[in-house]
């Protein structure tokens, strides 16, 4: 049994009395990838921000490396790297300055010069960050999350804005990172990514936990919720998800024409 890095029990969080996360419980072990999935506004980011110690839960127990991340944030961040859903940088800061700054925060920082090369940002070292493209900013954000050689990575929308080739490379990279024993929590809307990487899935809807378990268990969970004639054994994770996710209406041409 591998060591539990994150333990969450009955997590509850509300914004101005509107519940955002209700009774969510899960755990993540070393060398494991947990994908948090669900629609927009389902409580995914709120949940991971509680793990990150950036939001104080109303109730429930959160342990990261055996510590409360809200109370021991500084300690926890020595071993945790995060990529936030949205990150902006000071207007005139350059890529290498941001890297040097973040490297100074850790006792044993990663070799960021090497990471810049691996992330395809070598020729952008002197470039002010606001002038980077969306994909380049995303790659920089991932690089910064790795700066402290973390044992836990929390990645909120890991590959949003990346082109398909870079996405594939990221998948391989994170698979290798996981193999080294790092636990990863990833929030994603890309179910192909989740299918390729995740060991476990946490599925949220309306702030409530619908499912937590392995991909195989998720398959069984969906199977039990759809009519038999609609079921196919080889369905992709995306297809499975779409079968159970709340339906949204598309645009009608009436409204446009």
């Amino acid at each position: 049994m591998s060591q539990a890095i994150i333990g969450v029990e009955k997590l509850n969080l509300a914004y101005k009395k509107v519940p955002a996360v209700q009774d969510v419980s899960f755990s993540v072990s070393a060398g494991e990838i947990l994908a948090v999935i669900g629609q927009n506004g389902s409580g995914k980011t709120s949940t991971v921000e509680c793990i990150e110690g950036l939001r104080k839960p109303d109730s429930g127990l959160i342990q990261v490396f055996g510590k409360d991340p809200w109370l021991c944030r500084r300690e926890v961040y020595k071993e945790m790297g995060v990529q936030l859903q949205e990150t902006e940088y000071p207007l005139k800061i350059r890529v290498e300055e941001q890297c040097r700054l973040f490297a100074s925060f850790y006792e044993r920082p990663a070799d960021w010069n090497l990471l810049l090369t691996q992330m395809g940002l070598e020729d952008k070292r002197k470039c002010p960050i606001p002038k980077l493209s969306g994909g380049e900013k995303q790659r920089l954000s991932i690089l910064l999350s790795l700066m402290g050689r973390p044992k836990l990575l929390v990645l909120d929308e890991l590959t949003t804005g990346l082109d398909p080739e870079v996405r594939q490379n990221m998948w391989i990279s994170f698979e290798n990172i996981r193999k080294s024993g790092v636990a990863i929590v990833m929030v994603s809307h890309y179910l192909d990514e989740v299918e390729a990487l995740a060991d476990k899935i946490l599925y949220l809807e309306g702030g409530k936990q619908q499912f937590f378990g392995t991909q195989q268990e998720f398959r069984e969970y969906v199977k039990g919720r759809v009519p038999k004639d609609e079921w196919g054994e080889n369905f992709s994770l995306e297809k499975l998800y779409l079968m159970i996710a709340p339906k949204t209406t598309g645009l009608s041409m009436e409204g446009i024409l």
Partner: protein, 250 residues
């Protein structure tokens, strides 16, 4: 400490790269000095006066420098970092946002001292201004002026809803104080109403304090200004801190 030094290093570079902060804190006051010095020189303030125009203008411009950093540069940096969630990203590191806020205050403080030093050097070299006050009193005057302007700036950040509204508040307060406090125009030129209005402005008291101390007055003579500025600094800092904490950081 190593981390804090690196944050200061980066924040210093960002300050220098920001045209507004750099120009208005370090260059503009000297340009003003050259402009008015070119017109009036250091002629006596009035016939038979011991003090020259530049002798009283330089301490007033020094307060202008504290206004640039305290009412513009610092609050707009604090508000911008907060709105763009840059502090939140720092909170997601072992260092946290307190270190970066401290570094920003320190850099603005140091740059204010640099701006004032350049101004004093220019006044001394070009117009041979008299600085009759003792070193300690001058330091008290400068530090208190900086402290008060920074506190007001912090308070404006705390009450501003977002960067845009903080920006508007800062511009409004800064320019009103700049033109009505005697920092740029001598208050002898003001009408009665303007003088009355001016007497309510913190920058007016900072200008009076600095001009008095530079001319050789003892601190005791300016206890009213010291009291007003000191109380204002404490109130703005403490109320600002409470309001700032209440803001949603995430």
């Amino acid at each position: 400490m190593r981390q804090f030094a690196m944050i200061c290093n980066i924040e210093f570079r960002l300050f220098v790269r920001d045209f507004f902060s750099f120009f208005f804190a370090l260059v503009f006051p000297v340009l003003m000095l050259l402009l008015f010095g070119g017109i009036f020189g250091n002629a006596p303030v009035y016939d038979g006066a011991d003090m020259g125009i530049m002798d009283v203008t330089v301490p007033a411009y020094a307060v202008m420098v504290t206004g640039v950093t305290g009412l513009m540069s610092l609050p707009l940096t604090l508000s911008g970092y907060k709105e763009k969630k840059i502090y939140k990203r720092f909170d997601a590191t072992p260092v946290g946002k307190k270190n970066i806020i401290s570094a920003q205050i320190l850099i603005n403080f140091v740059m204010t001292l640099v701006g004032i030093s350049i101004l004093l050097a220019a006044g001394k070299i070009l117009y041979h201004i008299q600085i009759n006050g003792d070193f300690l009193s001058i330091c008290v005057g400068i530090f208190l002026s900086i402290g008060t302007m920074f506190s007001i700036g912090f308070f404006l950040t705390a009450i501003g809803r977002d960067l845009k509204s903080t920006n508007m508040l800062c511009y409004l307060i800064y320019f009103v104080m700049l033109f009505l406090s005697g920092a740029t125009m001598p208050d002898q030129m003001f009408s009665h109403t303007m003088k009355k209005l001016s007497s309510y402005l913190p920058m007016t008291h900072a200008v009076d304090l600095m001009q008095g101390i530079f001319s050789g007055d003892s601190l005791i003579l300016h206890k009213r200004e010291l009291l007003i500025l000191g109380i204002l600094a404490m109130v703005c800092t403490s109320v600002g801190a409470v309001l700032y904490r209440r803001k949603d950081w995430t």
